[in-house]
Symmetry: C2
Subunit: 143 residues, 2 copies
């Protein structure tokens, strides 16, 4: 399987370092400017994305429910997230971002996207389209 091998090679050469750099960038902005751990930032991101319960956060982030609960605790103490007990099923606690939480998340994203755009702009228009198309393909096979 020679073609497959070279694609696998490219995958290993590309995806981990690209993500590591991106993650390091997120960490730098989130931690050094806002005092958030990466886990806390991820939780904010996931809450915004609609994973608004402790269990959903735990599953998405591959951490235990107890840890997820404590991460949420820290975010609530910082005033970035609110807990709201579901009226219909009082076992559920709905998490949502406060205004402050939204602002922090937007700020981190804005800085990270500026950083990302600077790199992606090194591609020509043609190359951009090519990469975008390829990423769609890649995403599809990982669904």
């Amino acid at each position: 399987m020679p073609e497959g091998d070279s694609l696998i090679e490219r995958f290993w050469e590309t995806v981990p370092p690209v993500w590591r750099q991106t993650r390091a960038q997120i960490r730098m902005v989130a931690h050094e400017r806002f005092g958030l751990t990466v886990e806390q930032f991820q939780a904010l991101r996931r809450i915004r994305h609609g994973h608004n319960s402790v269990s959903a956060l735990a599953e998405e982030g591959r951490l235990s429910r107890s840890q997820a609960s404590r991460v949420v605790d820290a975010l609530v103490r910082r005033g970035l997230v609110t807990r709201l007990t579901d009226a219909k099923d009082r076992r559920h606690v709905h998490l949502s971002l406060t205004e402050s939480g939204k602002q922090v998340l937007s700020a981190v994203f804005a800085e990270t996207e500026a950083w990302l755009a600077k790199r992606l702009q090194l591609l020509s228009k043609d190359e951009s389209e090519q990469v975008a198309a390829a990423l769609s393909l890649l995403r599809r096979v990982f669904d």
Copy 2:
């Protein structure tokens, strides 16, 4: 910047989840079958890749030197890594994989690559080449 935006969108939709799945796969194999933490596995990988000192591991893995030192300690205790003091500069300690370490790393990689190949084989030959080319481009702009 409409084209750029869509590439950035694709990036966020693709790279983090693809890597998260890959990482989860590594973790599953490394931890559940070999009792390695992800950090320990990463250290093995980096030592094989030539980052064969405690400082190099610390820098690559973005962890403190003291922690890197302890991770190496654990690997040495398990017989997966050896320490060898440099004869010329006796401050340096060269790390290398033992046979057992190589075998463990190969086993983890083999299982992970089988998993990866199963996904990438969903692509046609043309698509494979397209994705491989795009990954090269992406890698280039992140160097």
